[in-house]
Symmetry: C2
């Protein structure tokens, strides 16, 4: 089923409405969850960050006992004009090939989403050649972005359209019972877009936010840094206008994931970041929606140097640190069992009173 | 079902046989697994430590594709005479109460083992008062150890008996198809025993290996350090005789878990460490069985200061760092999905050739 895509004015209004719809965190639910965790048969707070996760989930969901957690991983795919600058070890046609691989169930995220009991939703937001497969959601904004080293990657209208499509998908999956969504992506060249966007929004030097991506050597990274400098020089993105920055140097899938995060937050759905690209999307989203950061959970820390800078800027501590640099949502899928475990502790463990265990601990 | 417990001579012979039975790692299986991982549709090594885990599992299991992973968490419980020195925030009767809670399904490890699809095996190796429950395996060596601050915690024969019981259980679960076992424990006072054992085996200062356990304040930790000093003074354990050190300052559950690790390694079962106490048990086991370390996987890093020292000594890098300080095998259960994920990547992902994806990456 393809979502209808509204025009620019509708998209801008939808974005404003989605931002306004983000409710405050439910602090009562969080307190209730914390008190319940303190009654469980374990020394207080002895499950450390797992207990924080359980309380955070309660605050986001707005219920101390939100019940079984339905999870989804959304993999948004798009191509990047900047790939023509030779910034990736892989040729651009790999984006479409991998979308077909996602649809066929053979990619890493397919395997890990199955293991994590999460539904997998593959979205074509603008691969160069559309992948016709019933397993791929067609939410295309264009046939790849323009080359941002020479001018804007997309128009403001295209960025709004991608954001809006993400917001719509969030509404759809929330209505379908999803309580946590992982942000996955695929797009040859998209670490370059993420580096440029991060440099713009954090006012960071390109060297500090540009890494090997999926496998460049040192000379390749140096060339990529120069491309990021050219992208910034060609577009002069300004942190005071995050939407313009996203349009000028981002990507269709990055804008889509930003919209997905905003839409999910508005529906009380926890947002699980994956690697650097999803973090850059979330960073842009938080600049549009200031209530967003405490809805985000950082699944893992990748070796891309910009990832830690974004997580620090957003006040997020990653759950895993396994040197993952694949994307696709793989880190998010691997972190899901921790969130399910946290919730199971809150909902299923016995209390001291239930179990007749002496509660002498402090 | 209660295992028959052999006498001292039989136990010593069984330990020697179990140590001799540990096969070398299967390097062919590891190489085959690594080559297969390099054919999968992802940039080479882009799943970082997950790929190392998959290759490690193949080397331990002795097969590049060992098939679905059956997992167990063994929670060994015992009491400690040294609890009389006021080293815990909880009274000793909590050990038996928690064993009943394990049997009843309400404890944290019950919840997390269910989430991880692992069987849970609760063993009484020497709780002060036996817990009569069909869900608890009775492998009792005594009614709690003696107070190690005044003399040896147990005799050499008791230590051998506990080791032997662990070896036997490993054989039993391996025969029943288990391919990975997590080491869990419960015993009021057992961080003190683990600290004394670690200080002895690593020749470390008690201050460097003694922490708050399940919730001591700073004054409590200072008192606990003094108790550890008294334990070492009373027993003079020597790193050159690890069995004597284990008997003098360890615990029934610690010796049992050391035996379980040795027995598991001999049956090509991966051993998942949990927190500080299980790591101390594994440390003692590696001093008895030098081939053991590369069968071990460190599930997590606890805040107990001795834990990092042991992992460094064993050359292990923890998978998780979530400030867990509960024990019971909870960290091992939380790490199991990572191991299952690693194996699923190896066994289920498509190759470049299968999926028709261009393999241009290095």
């Amino acid at each position: 089923v393809t979502e209808p895509i509204a025009g620019d004015v509708g998209d801008a209004a939808r974005l404003s409405a989605a931002i306004a719809a983000i409710p405050p965190l439910d602090l009562d639910a969080r307190e209730e969850a914390e008190a319940e965790l303190d009654r469980k048969t374990k020394p207080r707070r002895s499950l450390g960050r797992l207990e924080h996760l359980a309380a955070r989930l309660a605050a986001i969901r707005g219920q101390a006992r939100p019940g079984p957690l339905e999870a989804a991983i959304v993999v948004a795919a798009a191509d990047h004009g900047v790939a023509a600058e030779g910034v990736s070890a892989y040729p651009p046609e790999v984006t479409a090939q991998m979308v077909a691989n996602f649809a066929g169930g053979g990619a890493a995220i397919c395997v890990l989403a199955r293991e994590a009991n999460a539904r997998l939703i593959v979205v074509d937001v603008g691969v160069r050649e559309a992948v016709a497969d019933p397993e791929v959601r067609d939410l295309r904004v264009g046939a790849g972005t323009a080359n941002s080293a020479a001018g804007p990657a997309m128009s403001r209208g295209q960025a709004l359209r991608a954001l809006s499509a993400g917001i719509d998908l969030a509404g759809e999956i929330a209505a379908d019972g999803v309580g946590a969504v992982g942000l996955g992506e695929m797009g040859i060249g998209n670490t370059t877009a993420a580096s440029a966007l991060t440099a713009a929004l954090l006012e960071a030097d390109p060297v500090a936010v540009t890494g090997p991506g999926t496998g460049l050597d040192a000379a390749g990274v140096a060339r990529k840094v120069e491309v990021v400098r050219r992208i910034l020089a060609a577009n002069e993105p300004d942190r005071s206008d995050p939407l313009a920055a996203l349009a000028a140097v981002g990507g269709f899938e990055i804008a889509f994931l930003a919209g997905l995060a905003i839409g999910a937050a508005g529906r009380r759905v926890m947002v699980l970041l994956d690697g650097f690209i999803s973090a850059a999307a979330a960073l842009a989203a938080t600049r549009l929606a200031p209530l967003l950061p405490d809805r985000l959970v950082a699944a893992h820390l990748s070796p891309e140097p910009g990832h830690r800078l974004i997580l620090d800027a957003l006040g997020l501590e990653p759950l895993l640190d396994l040197e993952l640099r694949l994307g696709e949502g793989t880190g998010a899928a691997l972190a899901l069992p921790l969130i399910r475990g946290a919730q199971a502790i809150l909902e299923e463990m016995a209390t001291f009173a239930d179990a007749g265990v002496t509660d002498a601990g402090r």
